[in-house]
Amino acid sequence: MGEAEAVAGRCDVSSTWILVVIIPLALTEFGSWATWLATKVVRCAARCLGEPDAVARYTEEFTATITAVPGQLTRLAVAVGILAAIPVLRHVLRATPAESAPEPGNPLAETAEEQTAESASRQLSVGARRRTSWTPGATDDRRHS
């Protein structure tokens, strides 16, 4: 019995050390790394845009964005979200005006690829509202039912 109590006591001490010392230290360390990593992620994301002007602009803009985000882990999450949207942004920046506006007379109409990427990016947002595509001027059957 005595030996069992001693083992139990050692487990308690170990658990206390893990809870009080190790986990907070690990979280603090990871938090610092998360900020560093977030900066690296957005710089990498901006470099993926290709064009030097765009790279320079978005590197600073993205870095300013994650700097303004409170919370170190949240910064990393935002950085990953920015990285996920880079293919769409690159598509918009590289598209000719005609490609950018697939429907004549509608400069805001988005391509199917952009809508898909936007939808995927939105899924990364915690608590994002459910949305559906909306067509201005289209007749809605629900109004007449």
Binding site: V78, G81, A85, L108, E110, A128, W134, G137, D140
Partner: protein, 108 residues
């Protein structure tokens, strides 16, 4: 400017935020006000800039300031007109949807 035939709700949300001329809007603030993921806001802003509906400029910082500058966005006069039309149309549609259904038998 042509009639808008198709526009995503996310773009409308961003336009609605940018319609507020009193505030200076940058990427993160626009995302939060529009309720969008930060990443999805930048392509929308880039598209608005590309078609001439929005313009952007760097934050003015003093010589002592450090760190990256924010980039602010605002609508051009053309964008302002188009955004008002699009947002008003959506609001109008929302009001129609919010109307209560008439009760059977014509009772009010």
């Amino acid at each position: 400017m042509g009639q808008l035939s198709r526009i995503t709700p996310a773009t409308l949300d961003v336009l609605e935020v940018l319609l507020d001329e009193k505030a200076e809007h940058y990427g993160l603030a626009i995302s939060r006000k529009a309720g969008l993921a930060t990443g999805s806001t930048f392509p929308i802003l880039a598209r608005l800039e590309r078609i001439g509906w929005a313009t952007s400029y760097w934050e003015e910082t003093g010589p002592d300031s450090r760190g990256p500058r924010r980039r602010f966005y605002r609508l051009t006069p053309e964008g302002m007109a188009g955004a008002r039309v699009a947002v008003d149309e959506r609001r109008g549609k929302g009001l129609v949807w919010a109307k209560p259904k008439p009760l059977p038998g014509g009772a009010t």
